[in-house]
Symmetry: C2
């Protein structure tokens, strides 16, 4: 089976200053096309270490994808290194040069010598034109292996992968089919699920693998099948997936590889209803998750982020004396926030949250991590108290996902 390895280059990856999102995106695209990624390696902007990685990765992979280190600045040494590695000489690529000129004309910025150097490429490569930036991609052949160098800027790399790299690879190799099917469960832990599906798992054929992917208190289960006949494989994994779904039915959120907010968005769209939000401690994160979905205006009206007492009173009709007597993090207040948002925004459903995300702000009886969540509609609103014990960002994320899931369950219980 054809195998790929991804090398990402940049000191910033090794001191942890940036998180590598490129590899995950590339791996996803390659997998979709039936190319198995066997390894991902990150190395710094260091000549010998990049060289060693090129030597090493071709032992295990047929296709070596390289990102990063192609910028116009002195710390970017990948291009001269590749030129030497593949015994080439640097030349100007006319199409790449024109591309640089076009970009600067469009931006109305003066062009400097350094920018034009972006059009230099080793004469032994096939140039992959980058329509989204100045650094072209480069394709090399050596020892019957394919090496492809791409810029590290995510949207430039993505454009080159879609328009040049994947189409090229599909003409060069015959790939087996790889099919993944993923479902999402909520409310039960990994060990519990493992017991529940242990017989199913044991009985799986060797070419179908099961993986557990815990995430924000939920667990995704993924079946992956590999084989030569795509149709037969599709039917076989489809059958196994149906079995798996029926075994975990009580805890199933969705049988697609999609986040909780998409499940809720689809449910609202199907009902022709909208939702609004009243957020205190999550500070807009629930609304952000909902509006990260293209077309979310169909099911989301808007919301209020009520950090201050005044915001709660003036924008959510929360009663000042209740605030003063029981405090903002309480069942009464989260219910008032929910009712106020429904009235002010005229939505079909509402999510309201009030809590303490930490690290500070805890008090006796209400430690950091305490949160009240209310979900409901004009007829009924339910309040739930939850406790989280992580860092601020994780508490915010867990609160948001749980709030979305509580509204999802509320709506399903109505039907």
């Amino acid at each position: 089976m054809t195998q790929a390895s991804i090398i990402t280059i940049g000191d910033e990856l090794l001191i942890g200053q940036v998180i590598d999102t490129n590899s995950a995106w590339m791996a996803q695209e390659l997998n979709r096309s039936g190319i198995r990624v066997v390894r991902r390696v990150a190395v710094g902007d260091v000549w010998d270490e990049i060289w060693a990685a090129l030597d090493e990765e071709q032992k295990q992979a047929d296709i070596i994808l390289i990102t990063g280190g192609l910028g116009p600045t002195a710390d970017d040494i990948t291009k001269p290194l590749l030129c030497k590695y593949f015994d080439g000489s640097m030349i100007i690529d006319e199409a790449a040069k024109q591309n640089v000129l076009d970009i600067f004309t469009k931006l109305n910025r003066p062009i400097i010598e350094r920018n034009l150097k972006q059009a230099e490429v080793p004469d032994v490569c096939t140039v992959l034109q980058n329509k989204r930036g100045t650094a072209p991609g480069m394709l090399f052949h050596k020892n019957e292996k394919v090496f492809i160098s791409l810029p590290g800027v995510p949207h430039e790399m993505q454009g080159l992968m879609e328009t040049e790299v994947i189409p090229f690879l599909l003409t060069q190799f015959r790939f087996p089919a790889i099919i993944h099917k993923t479902l999402l469960t909520a409310g039960v832990g990994e060990s519990f699920l493992a017991e529940l599906i242990s017989n199913f798992e044991t009985a799986l054929p060797a070419h179908i693998k099961l993986a557990y992917l815990p995430n924000y208190g939920m667990v995704r289960l993924r079946l992956s099948a590999t084989g030569l006949n795509a149709d037969a494989l599709e039917s076989e994994i489809g059958q196994q997936f149906e079995n798996l779904k029926s075994i975990v039915a009580d805890h199933l959120v969705t049988d697609m590889d999609e986040p909780m907010q998409n499940v809720l968005g689809k449910l609202l769209t199907a009902k022709g209803k909208t939702v609004c939000t009243a957020e205190s401690c999550t500070g807009g994160y629930i609304a952000h998750l909902l509006t990260s979905i293209p077309g979310s205006s169909a099911f989301f009206d808007g919301g209020v982020i009520s950090y201050s007492y005044r915001a709660k009173e003036d924008l959510l009709r929360v009663d000042k004396s209740t605030l003063e007597s029981v405090g903002a993090v309480s069942e009464e207040i989260v219910l008032q926030m929910a009712r106020g948002a429904l009235k002010n925004l005229g939505s079909g459903y509402v999510i309201a949250v009030s809590g303490i995300m930490g690290p500070g702000g805890g008090m006796p009886g209400k430690p950091a991590g305490t949160v009240w969540i209310a979900v409901g509609n004009n007829n009924k609103i339910q309040a739930h108290q939850l406790h989280f014990r992580f860092d601020r960002m994780r508490n915010i994320q867990l609160t948001a996902v749980n709030a979305l899931n509580l509204l999802r369950k509320f709506i399903l219980a109505e039907i």
Copy 2:
């Protein structure tokens, strides 16, 4: 110099289903302690590939850190593999077993055999007790190298790194000092900066490196110095950093490694003023960035997310006839949103945005990526039109960061 390599294990990393945030976090912690990370490798849940990675990484590194693959389910093969790799036999660790029992007692969940298996460890390892979960860390020695296996759940791995791994490594090795200093610029590109600081860069001594880290239309510049005398190094890099700051002064946002929202938060805190937000297209993301900072209630009052016309009218006092005549994505509306938020929330400053984040929603004269941003206070509000051309999520992020930066510049211009 002592070098470390990080191996992350899990098929989900190679099909791109999850983004590896663990490696970045670990690299940051190791660097802070003077341990240089030379490579990061991700491999799947495949026996031979994990084995090969262990063989390979010890050639280049003195310390090999391994995360993932320690869960209680059948796809987690790391523990038996390590047991074999280091010629051990599996035994129950009594402290780890007590930890599992304690966790289940606290959660009030029934314990199953599979959970207790988490307390099994190879008899050739030193057990690192995991106070945040059931999978213990394991420390092995072989060929004068140190191998440390940690669970893949981020907050469990982080707890073990902080309380066990780093303190242990500091007793075993003598590390040179590594000092990083990072500043953030906005408003100019990487090539422009490279020209501006080219003389400075050329004159840097060999043990101080400069890196360019472009991010959301801003560029971070990082100086990294390595040496044996931490005090001398601190003084030397401090001097170079001051030079660099003065060269890029016109474009400098902050001389710390911190995001834009922290810079704005500090500025507001220093002035004793608060901000509120009125967000349409960013859907709460600006408020989320601001409230991701602990203690943000000191400078953030709250905001309105006005997706629907009704939300704009009822919560932000936007005029219905203006909405109907010029449309929501316009200078007039974003100014009205800003004024309405200031009035309703009583803040010192405001940020308002209205735009089209795509992929759909574009119209003649207002393509997807068009956005209006207003920033100001009760005396003056400025509106700016910007255009982005990326995917929805990136357009949202760029809009948010630019909006925060516009308010930062507005406040600085006042002084």
